[in-house]
Symmetry: C2
Subunit: 156 residues, 2 copies
Amino acid sequence: MAAEALARTLDTAAALCAQRGARLTPQRRRVLEILCRTERPLGAYEILDQLREGSRALAPPTVYRALDFLLEQGLAHRLESQHAFIGCRHPGCAHQSQFLICARCGRVIELSDAGVSERLAMAARARGFEAERPVVELIGICAGCASAEPAPDCPS
Amino acid sequence: MAAEALARTLDTAAALCAQRGARLTPQRRRVLEILCRTERPLGAYEILDQLREGSRALAPPTVYRALDFLLEQGLAHRLESQHAFIGCRHPGCAHQSQFLICARCGRVIELSDAGVSERLAMAARARGFEAERPVVELIGICAGCASAEPAPDCPS
DNA sequence: ACGAGATTGAAACATTATAACGTTTCCAGG
DNA sequence: CCTGGAAACGTTATAATGTTTCAATCTCGT
Ligand SMILES: [Zn+2]
Ligand SMILES: [Zn+2]
Ligand SMILES: [Zn+2]
Ligand SMILES: [Zn+2]
């Protein structure tokens, strides 16, 4: 994420937390910044490595606690299929997300497609199931990678 | 799964594999049986524990290899949000599944809702994204648990 | 029988995540 | 200003999940 957009995202996050009485401490803010600065999703231990830059010795719970907070506040998302985390692309707006995850370049597109959410809700309701936490992730090939690469059946 | 249904599922699996030239070895068959006999999804190490009953000392790769085979053949599914595996409820029929996972009792309903699949495909296609492996899991409360328990806002 | 390829056994290792416990920091009320 | 309770943080150890590696064995077509 570009520097300006990053600053704006962090400001939005701070405002949201203030408004909710939640504390976006320096450490949590730092984790959010690391997440948002990166295009790709990051594993907890990758975040930890970046947090440690500057010779501080931090342990796994530190980063997992910060992530729990960010997930609760809707400032970050967990990609279950990747065991990784990503900064939310539109924090504040309550949203059910779907993720398009490129298996080649690792980039992620965060959607909030109402049609998909509705269909899922319908399917669940029809079985008397009350959905609380949807996990919708499509692993595949993004537009950029599809055009940059030869077709799957192209003779090299 | 009841004994009869289990036997039928295993026979179907054997027939499918034979037809494809894939080898449903005793070990793989045993893992499939463990998966299908159980209502709930099972972690790899839970399966391993059951495989070991009879004092054999098996290592993790044994069960992961069997699971890889079953996943490839569409005889089992992996629940990404649970780090667990489940036997397919309708093997043979090519299908994209969605899973309703009860957070209370652990039971799983495997859907193959065409409307959901289509909506997802549309949303992806609109972004030039070619989905290869969909992960759709709704965590929530199943009908049985909802009726058995007091409402969330019920004063105890 | 022979050999290529698939399957299995076994040990070590890598990665991801949490439990448990103590300390520090923050903030509201006295 | 004190002070007590809650939230946040530090630290160690450990649980849970998944992979690499290499050697031994089995299967099947020739
Ligand atoms: Zn989001
Ligand atoms: Zn890509
Ligand atoms: Zn299935
Ligand atoms: Zn239930």
